[in-house]
């Protein structure tokens, strides 16, 4: 034990005082989320208003928390809900069970389900935690419904930020496809651009151009 040992410990404290503060004063202040943040889900539509979901249940099949319930149904011939034969007739996610792993997003063959940046979805009953089509499905204009009204905490614009997973991933994982758009446009957001910076060329940028 040295002479300064009794006060050396204060040095640690002193050093921390000059470090950049990490704690965010949520909810007073909100941090900028990473581009691939996993918030609540949204069911997308094509710009023409057709639903992207085809009710294939792959999301429900892959879900490790078993929190998704989907049932398909034959598209009405005269007024189809989605392109093709089948649409998601029942779509429910139990947000209490969801672990926000985004496996559903990966499994989805039509990019129907994606995740947004909004995670504020407190509820007062368990039933309210089950999001159905009416809470998940965006309007033909691209507006996403949310059970709670906008507030200081709930910034509904965050619902329009699609998570970047799909835009960062190339078909079959090939580097040659980087920057090549392999996804479909979405109502309200148009054809989202590729996520940049995969090869570390010019750093991350989270900007969206609609």
């Amino acid at each position: 034990m040295g002479l300064f040992s009794p006060i050396a410990g204060f040095g640690v404290t002193l050093k921390q005082m000059f470090r950049k503060r990490v704690t965010a004063q949520y909810p007073k202040e909100k941090r900028v989320k990473p581009q691939r943040f996993h918030g609540r889900h949204v069911l997308n539509r094509y710009p023409d208003g057709m639903e992207k979901c085809i009710g294939c249940e792959l999301c429900a099949g892959i879900c490790p928390a078993r929190c998704i319930y989907v049932r398909g149904k034959e598209n009405p011939k005269d007024a189809p809900v989605s392109p093709g034969e089948r649409y998601g007739f029942v779509y429910e996610i139990n947000m209490l069970r969801c672990i926000f792993c985004a496996m559903c997003v990966e499994a989805c063959p039509t990019e129907a389900i994606t995740m947004t940046h909004l995670f504020e979805m407190s509820v007062t009953t368990r039933d309210d935690a089950i999001y159905t089509r009416s809470e998940l499905l965006m309007s033909p204009e691209g507006d996403v419904p949310h059970p709670q009204p906008p507030s200081k905490l709930i910034d509904l614009d965050e619902l329009k930020v699609a998570d970047g997973w799909m835009r960062a991933t190339a078909p079959a994982g090939r580097a040659a496809y980087e920057g090549v758009r392999g996804w479909t446009p979405t109502a309200g957001a148009g054809h989202r651009p590729p996520e940049r910076g995969q090869s570390g060329d010019d750093g991350a940028d989270g900007e969206e151009d609609a």
């Binding site: 294939c56 249940e57 792959l58 039509t110």
Partner: protein, 794 residues
């Protein structure tokens, strides 16, 4: 004992193996533990080598040769390679070709997730396609029948469906059309794929080209729960896989049980699951209130009422009560019902049949009894029975296989054309009521029947004997059985349709039998006697177990009147049938796939049925209901569970000794165990006798027989099958039509022993003149009598 086939030795991937000579390479290699991917090959059909997926390399004098293993029989010393780079490359190439035009709509395809093409592409296919051109397009699914949809884009032209309908079911209504790139499976215009077996093509389709309407978009394979069971629709007892999602039955698939159904099902069995999900199912007990209406009640109240009513009737004297039904229950429930009626109600008046079947002693104790699989070895098959295609469809497939594939002589005796006629060696027709005369001529075998008799004298003979129609006396069937038993190396299969009627007879649900095929020395009344007794007041009460005499009894109106007159009636059923609607207390029972137990099929094979679904509302297993009733009446059946009942049956019923649930659940027992016949039982001693006045004295006789899709409760409770029931009609011989001055399509009024009906006329030259055929249970109730009068309606 058949002689041991010659074995050949071959080498697959360096391993030596032995198989019988003539085995196809694909099967031989499977036996040696090596799997070869394939699409068109099906073990129950002839190989065609169309899909080219099963390519293997065989060493030959000119080096290694690629060949399709499904068309190559194994020869001595053959050296086969399945895991070389060449084989892998060939299979990858085949898959790339198969996928050229195959749409990638797996996410919306009903087959996605259980698709051989998907699986094998993942296992052996190329990662990417080099095909960048537009794929072939057709309109997405077209309905080729009421039950089957065809998506030609997905078809890989393996010909499994067309081969099935040609080779196995014998109604080739689908075929390959056009050629080259445009080749497609389709039906003839305006001739839908209305086969009784169309669902099998959906099951064997290796892609999602053929899908079933009732299952369309209902679930994906990964959210299905499945349990193996035995089909509840007829007495063949096909092995099935019951599949459900979220407690709703969604489909039945055929399971290959070699001795019984060989993987096939009829469409009634396959799509008949819908009754389980019907909104009309009883889910709460009903009791009759002061106003005479059936109102919902608690179980305690309903059971108290039932027990009080039955006790009061029982107190009037011995044998005042009776039990009808049990032919649709499990053996355990039937056994519990028998004990309840015999011990608690103190009565021997018990019948599982409704006057339309055979003597229960015949069902339980005929010797020598045939098994279905005896058809594989038969030289001659005699069918003097209901139209098997209409009543026991999968038995029809087995007989058809014997007659076509295996080359057996087939003799069909029936009042009109049957489904088997096109493959029969000899068909004989007779007027209902003149069967005895036909039998005498057949036994005599002279004149024009000499060839038939010669065929019958070629053994081994399997005789499938039943009542072709309601007009045929059960004693005629017994006389035919006695005749058939005398043919060389003969075995007899007595056939009647209702699903577990054989099990019910074995469990003693018959006036003349006790459980385990033991004769009852103090026989009670049969169905006819019970209904008579109820009408006359000799009987004071009745318990119905899944039985609807007001619809199913041979004289429905008589039965309805008897039920109206009955003092006190308790009905245990799945639906509020016309009979249950007349009961004083209705108790909802659990049905198929909701209870566990065993059933016995027409060859005496005991098979397991298993539970998967919870059942509607507060419905309970029938044996629990009976036990509760018995306790309230101061008795007890004793066994607490169905499994305990099964153990009791195995212990007390001689024929069922050792047939436990355990034995039926594993290994060879899953094929079912044939309950041995009673030891030392004497053969039927029935001589052909004139049991009815000769029909020549009558002008017209009535032939009534069932059709597959009728207006029965279970058929009508499911939307897919309900719409398949045809409108009733009178089938008249053209000569009679001329005689009566009526034309096809015109209306006639038929008046029989139990009712009268106005029906449109269909000309049917396959009848013997003087016979009118009316399908049963399509809405025309004429009674069971042979006599019929016909007049044109203007």
């Amino acid at each position: 004992m058949p002689s041991q086939p010659d074995l050949v030795t071959f080498t697959v991937d360096g391993k030596e193996a032995q198989v019988p000579a003539g085995t196809l390479l694909i099967e031989a290699v499977k036996a040696a533990g090596v799997h070869i991917p394939h699409f068109c090959y099906h073990p129950r059909m002839k190989p065609v080598g169309m899909c080219r997926m099963c390519l293997v390399q065989v060493e030959g004098p000119r080096g290694m040769m690629l060949g399709t293993s499904c068309t190559m029989p194994v020869t001595e010393g053959m050296v086969v390679h399945t895991d070389t780079d060449t084989v892998a490359k060939a299979q990858e190439g085949v898959l790339e070709f198969l996928l050229l035009n195959h749409p990638l709509d797996c996410p919306v395809c009903d087959r996605g997730g259980e698709c051989p093409l998907q699986d094998q592409t993942m296992a052996a296919g190329p990662g990417e396609s080099r095909f960048v051109e537009e794929k072939r397009h057709y309109p997405k699914p077209i309905p080729i029948s009421d039950l089957v949809l065809l998506d030609r884009e997905r078809c890989i032209l393996c010909a499994r469906c067309t081969r099935f309908s040609d080779e196995i079911s014998g109604d080739p209504l689908i075929e390959f059309k056009d050629r080259g790139n445009a080749t497609q499976v389709n039906t003839f215009p305006d001739e839908p794929f209305a086969s009784y077996f169309s669902g099998n093509t959906v099951q064997i389709c290796p892609v999602g080209a053929l899908t079933a309407t009732p299952y369309r978009f209902r679930a994906r394979p990964w959210d299905l729960e499945a349990v193996e069971s035995t089909c509840p629709h007829c007495s063949v007892g096909c092995r099935i896989s019951v599949q459900a999602s979220r407690n709703e039955a969604l489909r039945f698939l055929g399971v290959d049980n070699g001795p019984v159904n060989q993987g096939w099902l009829c469409d009634k069995g396959r799509f008949g699951f819908e009754f389980l999900n019907s909104g009309d199912r009883l889910d709460t007990p009903l009791v009759r209130d002061e106003d005479g209406d059936l109102v919902e009640a608690s179980w305690a109240e309903a059971l108290d009422r039932a027990a009080a009513g039955l006790s009061a009737a029982a107190a009037e004297g011995p044998g005042r009560l009776a039990g009808l039904g049990g032919a649709r229950s499990t053996n355990e429930e039937a056994y519990a019902f028998g004990r309840f009626v015999r011990e608690t109600l103190g009565s021997n008046h018990l019948d599982a049949q409704l006057g339309d079947g055979l003597d229960p002693r015949v069902l339980a104790g005929i010797t020598p009894r045939a098994a279905i699989d005896d058809l594989e070895r038969a030289r001659t098959v005699l069918v003097w029975a209901p139209d098997l295609k209409e009543e026991l469809p999968v038995l029809y497939l087995r007989v058809r296989r014997a007659a076509t594939e295996l080359g057996a002589n087939l003799v069909v005796v029936h009042p009109r054309a049957t489904g088997l006629d096109p493959v029969a060696t000899h068909t004989l027709r007779y007027r209902p009521g003149a069967g005895t005369e036909m039998l005498r001529r057949l036994a005599d075998g002279s004149g024009d029947l000499a060839a038939v008799r010669a065929a019958l004298d070629e053994g081994p003979v399997v005789a499938i004997i039943g009542r072709p129609g309601l007009g045929d006396d059960p004693r005629l069937a017994e006389a035919v059985m006695a005749f058939a038993a005398g043919l060389p190396d003969a075995a007899v299969l007595p056939v009647t349709r209702r699903s577990n009627v054989y099990g019910a007879a074995d469990m003693g649900l018959a006036p003349t039998l006790l459980p385990g095929r033991v004769a009852n020395d103090a026989p009670g009344r049969d169905a006819a006697g019970i209904l008579e007794g109820l009408a006359s007041g000799d009987l004071g009460g009745l318990v119905l177990l899944g039985s609807d005499p007001a619809t199913d009894y041979v004289e429905p109106q008589q039965a309805a009147a008897a039920l109206d007159a009955a003092g006190f009636t308790v009905a245990i059923d799945l639906f509020l049938t016309p009979s249950a609607a007349k009961a004083d207390v209705v108790l909802p029972a659990l049905g198929f796939a909701e209870t566990e137990g065993t059933v016995t099929n027409l060859e005496g094979r005991v098979q397991k049925v298993n539970r998967l679904l919870p059942g509607p509302g507060s419905a309970r297993p029938a044996h629990e209901i009976l036990e509760d009733l018995a306790r309230r009446m101061g008795g007890s059946i004793g066994a607490a569970s169905a499994e305990a009942l099964a153990a009791e049956i195995a212990g007390t019923a001689p024929a069922y000794a050792g047939i436990t649930w355990e034995a039926l659940s594993w290994g060879a027992g899953r094929e079912g165990i044939v309950a041995p016949g009673p030891e030392g039982s004497q053969p039927l001693a029935v001589a052909p006798e004139d049991h009815a006045p000769p029909p020549a004295a009558r002008d017209l006789v009535l032939h009534q027989a069932r059709v597959l899709y009728d207006r029965g409760t279970l058929t009508q409770a499911g939307p897919s099958l309900a719409k398949l029931a045809k409108e009733p009609a009178a089938y008249v011989h053209p000569e009679d039509a001329t005689r009566f001055g009526i034309k096809a399509g015109a209306a006639v009024r038929l008046t029989g022993s139990g009712g009268s009906a106005e029906l449109p006329v269909v000309l049917d030259p396959s009848l013997v003149a003087g016979t009118v055929y009316v399908p049963l249970h399509l809405g025309a109730a004429l009674g069971a009598g042979l006599e019929i009068s016909m007049e044109a309606v203007t």
